[in-house]
């Protein structure tokens, strides 16, 4: 046998030791077979979470719709859950959600995309490497801190200029939410813009176009689906944001378009009702789930759309 030739070298014969150990290996053989199944079980926890979310939200929401007709819920403009004759129209909440989201996007959209243009097209490597992480700090600040900032600083600031604005209003949290979303849009749009191949830019530069013209006529059109995808994700984030609006926009369930007034969003409603310790089984308890299911569908659609757009963008390059 080939193995016996080097016995002269050393007392240790590794080959024999390995052969020896191998006999005891049945246990590790078992591990080897068991591991993939075990990992599959762990991986399915994420699936279970999704299933859990869907089942919890929708079974309880269905209970709710047995009491309050689904039609009434989605067309009702009056929300009076605590009243003697409660009414459960979700439109005030959807309205509040959309208005705060709209205000936020009015800030985050333009500022985010202009930051992205600067970072991707104008800034030098060194400047970008300083500015980008700084901007991302904004995304790491907990939303409760933004809520505090909106309530104790931005609202008083707005009121000192426009005294007719309420102590709680939708404008201030909307603006602050916008600031919070800037880094998200800036960073995702920048990724999209910087992955536009340089050859396309060079084509425009060679014709004597300025950077500005190249950006607007070549880079942005080429990166459009990526940029839109970042907007959609920003919207989804704003729709789901909770603490800023809960703190700074109060809890009046007005159905109005006056941004100086207090309005409630879907998320803030969930906080209010669940903190109020609604007894399980009551209509108001079930309404939590109907609102949450609505919110869930809103954000899910947005996320699917965003992913579709960004995949389309990736396919193009």
């Amino acid at each position: 046998m080939a193995g016996n030739s080097d016995t002269n070298k050393n007392a240790v014969n590794v080959r024999e030791m390995i052969a020896e150990k191998k006999k005891k290996k049945n246990l590790s053989n078992f591990t080897e077979k068991f591991i993939p199944t075990f990992l599959l079980l762990i991986a399915s926890i994420s699936l279970l979470t999704t299933v859990g979310i869907i089942i919890t939200l929708f079974t309880e929401a269905i209970e709710f719709f047995k009491i309050v007709p689904i039609w009434e819920f989605f067309t009702g403009t009056v929300l009076r859950p605590m009243s003697q004759n409660p009414e459960f129209g979700v439109l005030p909440l959807i309205n509040g959600t959309l208005i705060s989201t709209f205000i936020a996007m009015l800030v985050a959209g333009p500022v985010g995309i202009m930051s992205a243009i600067y970072l991707s097209e104008y800034a030098s490597d060194r400047v970008r490497r300083v500015l980008k992480p700084l901007l991302e700090i904004l995304a790491g600040i907990p939303t409760i801190v933004y809520g505090f900032f909106a309530f104790t600083f931005v609202t008083p600031l707005i009121r000192s200029i426009f005294p007719e604005v309420g102590a709680t209003n939708i404008l201030s949290p909307g603006l602050v939410m916008g600031v919070m979303i800037i880094p998200m849009i800036a960073s995702l749009s920048e990724d999209a813009m910087s992955s536009v191949p340089n050859s396309m830019r060079e084509g425009a530069f060679a014709l004597g176009a300025t950077k500005l013209e190249t950006t607007f006529k070549v880079v942005i059109p080429a990166a459009l689906s990526g940029i839109i995808s970042s907007f959609v994700l920003g919207i989804s984030r704003a729709i789901g944001e909770t603490m800023i609006v809960t703190i700074a926009s109060g809890s009046s369930k007005n159905f109005t378009f006056d941004i100086t007034q207090s309005m409630q969003t879907m998320t803030a409603y969930i906080v209010e009702v669940s903190s109020g310790d609604a007894p399980a089984g009551s209509t108001i308890y079930y309404s939590l789930y109907a609102v949450a299911a609505t919110l869930f569908i809103f954000t899910l659609l947005m996320n699917i759309l965003a992913r579709y757009l960004s995949r389309k963008f990736r396919e193009e390059y």
Binding site: S46, T152, A306
Partner: protein, 294 residues
């Protein structure tokens, strides 16, 4: 005849270059806008809170009297939450990532799980709160205790850990696992002894970022029903608790009743931000120190 009138081009060119410079300046201002707000926010919070932040505040118990109030309970509560979140997310997150990257056959099922994870990452945190309320607090009858809060936060940040771990595993060069297989190592030996150690810095960095997200989360905790009352310090996973962001929330809400509460909230925010800053520094340190160049 000439198609291009050079005088006109020259004149337009000046305007175009000027536009370019003006817009460049505006783009720069936009980029700085976010940073200015950040600076205002930080200055504002620090100027309000720093005077209230002392050792007694950090080690004191909760009190309705602003001068005596402290946040030790909240600090302990947050720490207890982390004791749940860290092991649970690491175990499930890394396990899932190993399965997806190294064991699952590429195909529909793998794509399905990946899509599912990216959808979960987009679910609003408040919805996780409702899930936690329904499953952990009510169905499993934990009540509004540390374990219920910790598990809820774990599910919330799990997608972040999974994606970070997947990226870290993918970044381990193939030639390392080849070398290991070439030595006669089994798949699990290769995973355990070569791939995971090499991916560890990336996994830790991602997990710490996920952890800092969990520490600052408020919405799911409000839904689970964290009491604002004076409660004893938590001593186990089955005790009720409060957490730093909850403390900030209640003091901010009540600032219209007792104006000093705003300063207490600001002081608590400072503690929270310092905690997050430390965590992120550790993450950056790990990334720089243990990054292997091949």
């Amino acid at each position: 005849m000439k198609y291009v009138d050079e005088a006109v081009v020259e004149k337009r060119m000046k305007a175009r270059i000027r536009n370019n410079s003006i817009l460049k300046f505006i783009f720069l201002l936009s980029t700085l806008f976010g940073l200015v707000v950040l600076a205002v926010l930080l200055i504002r919070v620090f100027s309000q809170g720093i005077a209230w932040l002392d050792w007694d505040f950090i080690t004191g118990r909760l009190s309705t009297d602003p001068d005596r109030a402290g946040i030790l309970g909240a600090i302990l509560g947050t720490s207890w939450l982390m004791l749940v979140v860290i092991p649970v997310t690491l175990f499930i997150g890394v396990g899932t990532a190993i399965y997806l990257e190294l064991y699952a056959k590429p195909g529909r099922f793998q794509n399905f799980i990946a899509t599912n994870i990216s959808n979960l990452a987009g679910v609003p945190s408040i919805v996780y709160g409702l899930l936690g309320l329904t499953i952990f607090v009510r169905a499993l009858e934990f009540g509004n205790v540390v374990l219920a809060g910790g598990l809820t936060l774990s599910l919330l940040v799990l997608p972040i850990v999974i994606v970070a771990a997947q990226e870290a595993i993918r970044a381990v060069p193939q030639f390392l696992s080849e070398a290991s297989y070439g030595m006669g190592a089994t798949k699990w030996q290769t995973v355990k002894k070569i791939i995971l150690p090499a991916a560890l810095p990336g996994i830790l960095t991602g997990s710490i970022l996920a952890l800092s997200r969990a520490i600052g989360e408020t919405a799911p905790l409000t839904v689970i029903g964290i009491p604002a009352l004076l409660i004893p310090f938590p001593g186990s996973f089955f005790d009720t608790f409060t957490a730093l962001p909850m403390q900030i929330y209640y003091w901010t809400l009540d600032a219209s009743l007792v104006s000093e509460y705003a300063y207490l909230a600001a002081a608590t925010i400072i503690v929270l931000l310092v905690l997050l800053f430390l965590l992120n520094s550790v993450a950056i340190f790990i990334r720089n120190k243990f990054q292997q160049r091949y």
